[in-house]
Symmetry: C2
Subunit: 471 residues, 2 copies
């Protein structure tokens, strides 16, 4: 049988301020109604049945991933939460072990959660052919046709002298990690290189053989049955990528399946240019943006008017609580900004102003420390948990739809242009039983207004036991 | 007697998005608790009694100027509202006529409302000496010592061969309007030029003689007693600056009083660099800003975190509803942005998100068209007008202080963490009778949420007859 593994543990901090610690790149709904993770799952689930798709992540994103995949009919038992993040070799090995135990001949395809693919039919066709090849014990990497000299990627040089397997898969000659721009240009001219997009297909058993040979410590950890010593040993593992730990070491048995499907990894702000439509001056624009005399500039707006005048090769990334302006050539250095903000304990590295929840979303309108105002949207037929706050009271003014509100033992129906008061220390719940969105303004007052002042008694989204507390 | 005229009719659009049509540069409280206009008045009122200070403006700013000057004990009768804006020659002539009729020997000093002066004592000393000279019928211009080659200013070349009047005032040789950068550099090297800062001192009667000679049409309009034909003739006047209309034509009788007082006109975003403290990389920063590898860049933040990375010679001006990013060399072109926004009927050229009112201020937290949320602050012992809205209801949640609320014939005291509802079509008023600020969140719902849906019945700020309707 065929299986898929989606790697969804990355932080994607180079997309700050759009991505945050609590909302990494793969969970952002940048393109329409779905996140990158959701797009990845939907793309794969056309070929592989839901019960055979695994998602690997870590504790930080477990809950958010659960909400996003539940919407799409994903099998939630297939979310694998790592004990701690140990890079891709360990993540992939972990799922390979699970698949092999279930289906010793299972073939697994590995996909990062944060890729964008324009031509899905091209992608699907190659994927099917690749599964067939992997059944013959071939180890395959997808090779992305390079569109430009790019020094941030790994390159795979193929051996053109050997005729391709089944006409589609070329033997790997060597890997070239992040070449300088000049070298990258030369490689592309030779026409025998591909980008390593991190998409792999192989039998779980074949990979585990390689892990046994090249990463014996990891192999032994994967076989550990005792939970306590598994945790200890896992935490002691080195962080090693699958490329470094396995691929480079067994390159002679590797094949490249070339792929020309409008692929883009979303690695940093520069890559978004290949996804957004560009205007005649090559500006990539999102949101309410006015450009004058501006070229080859990326502007991510969306929450208010942005005017870019006289700019060239710049990035402007604006969000309701943080703005970044830098030249494109410094896009890779955004991670340094995040490091600084984290060291300074700034909330802006952590939580976005617009927070998605399984029942809808809220937007912090202002937060003075003494009071906080939110706009809260509840999707039709969803409800927040039955909850209580020890240190704050809440005023709710319904502005759209009808809310069913429970306070203590009483139930009220609050319509648009009506309000209700939730005293401190009272059990309460708000529900949207209508077919239309419910929107209300919440004004919080109290001695402490942190999101962690919450006790939950009932929840539709399995958050009662969560290590985090949220609405 | 000595008089002062403050010219406060300018739009200052080159400070967009900080300045707006409804809140021009001179009314912005950029430096501490006072606006540029207020600073200008306070600076002058140390030397000239309040009853002798006039402010000229136009209908657009009349109301706002009234509030700002009332706070400082200014004589409100001395606000001169022009029939229509006709540039500085007409504005100054208008006040010259008023002063001359009141005091035929009166000496008047003319000040733009939007200048920043660091060394007020130096300024005051020169001002006093200049008044003394002007009493002898001398026409004086203040000459600002040039600090850099600047092609946006007018230059005055002095005649060093003629010995200075009373040792302080030099004869004017010629005016050089906005020289190219190279010429400006040469002029400054010669050491005989000053910037024309638009500060003039002369007897009202002396100026009027010059207007009679060089601008006879304006002179005749100033003498017009019939209100109707005055309006007609005023509107038919050409817009002419005092520099072009008078100064250049009578340069032989002009003297320059040099001034080295840390002067800056606030003409565009570049000039703010001379007011803000600059860091070791020459960045001029306001607000919550993180700079990395950034030089000689101006960042105006203040409403959320701004990160500037890898920038040089740039301007970032961020406000709650609009952001501008441009290189410093394009600072003069900000007016083009405003023109475009105006043509597109965008509210962002018109109204700021934080709106100052005589009773306090409000900040629009969100405005979806279907509902609007504001944070409203009322200063101690102030109150809004007694008012009514035909098309919207309002929910008020008090978050700080105590509100006295009148709805219809009833009065309520609403404390922090309490709320009250104002139905559509009901007369209402909110008052702060306490010694501390009152803050409340207002949620508006209704079929129309424009600020002009207001009927006023009583007002502490003389706004009942205003052509504009505002809270």
């Amino acid at each position: 049988m065929n299986y898929a593994v989606i790697l969804a543990g990355g932080k994607g901090i180079r997309f700050w301020p759009l991505s945050r610690q609590e909302e990494p790149k793969q969970l952002l709904k940048i393109f329409g109604n779905y996140s990158l993770l959701q797009h990845t799952y939907l793309r794969i689930s056309k070929i592989i049945p839901a019960r055979n798709v695994y998602v690997v992540t870590n504790k930080d994103y477990d809950e958010a991933i659960r909400y996003q995949l539940k919407e799409l009919g994903f099998c939630l038992d297939n979310i694998i939460v790592e004990i701690s993040p140990k890079n891709t070799a360990a993540s992939i090995g972990l799922v390979a072990k699970i698949i092999q135990e279930k289906d010793p001949d299972g073939v697994m395809a590995v996909f990062p959660a944060d890729h964008f693919i324009k031509k899905e039919n091209v992608f699907s066709a190659i994927l099917k052919k690749s599964f067939a090849l992997a059944k013959l014990n071939t180890m395959l990497i997808f090779g992305i046709k390079p569109l430009r000299a790019e020094s941030a990627y790994g390159y795979i040089k193929i051996n053109k002298k050997v005729s391709p397997l089944k006409r589609i898969a070329f033997k790997v000659e060597k890997f070239i990690e992040k070449p300088k721009l000049g070298l990258a240009e030369n490689l592309i001219k030779q026409g025998t290189v591909y980008w390593n997009g991190g998409i792999f297909i192989w039998k779980a058993s074949v990979l585990l053989e390689k892990i046994k040979k090249f990463m014996p410590r990891l192999y032994s950890v994967l076989g550990e049955k005792n939970k306590k010593s598994l945790t200890r040993k896992w935490n002691a593992l080195d962080s090693v990528s699958i490329d470094y730990g396995i691929m480079e070491k067994c390159k002679d048995s590797l094949y490249v399946a070339p792929l020309d499907c409008g692929w883009t990894d979303l690695g940093n702000w520069n890559t978004i240019d290949f996804v957004l439509n560009r205007d005649k001056n090559k500006n990539a624009i999102y949101g309410d943006v006015l450009t004058l005399n501006t070229k080859n500039t990326t502007v991510w707006g969306g929450h208010h008017l942005v005017v870019a005048m006289g700019l060239k090769d710049m990035i402007i990334a604006d969000t309701p609580d943080a703005l970044l302006v830098c030249p494109k050539e410094q896009a890779q250095r955004v991670s340094e900004v995040v490091d600084i903000l984290k060291a300074r304990k700034r909330f802006e590295y952590m939580t976005p102003r617009l927070v998605n929840r399984p029942w809808g979303r809220y937007f912090v309108l202002n937060d003075t420390g003494r009071f906080k105002t939110k706009m809260v949207e509840v999707e039709p037929h969803r409800r927040l948990s039955l909850q209580l706050h020890q240190r704050r009271a809440e005023h709710w003014i319904v502005v759209e739809g009808i809310a069913k509100v429970t306070i203590g033992n009483k139930t009220y129906f609050v319509k648009s242009n009506e309000s209700i008061y939730v005293p401190r220390g009272q059990r309460h719940r708000i529900e949207n039983n209508e077919n239309h969105k419910l929107t209300f303004i919440e004004v919080q007052t109290g001695s402490y207004l942190g999101e962690d002042d919450i006790e939950r008694f009932e929840d539709d989204f399995e958050r009662l036991k969560s290590h985090k507390n949220k609405n």
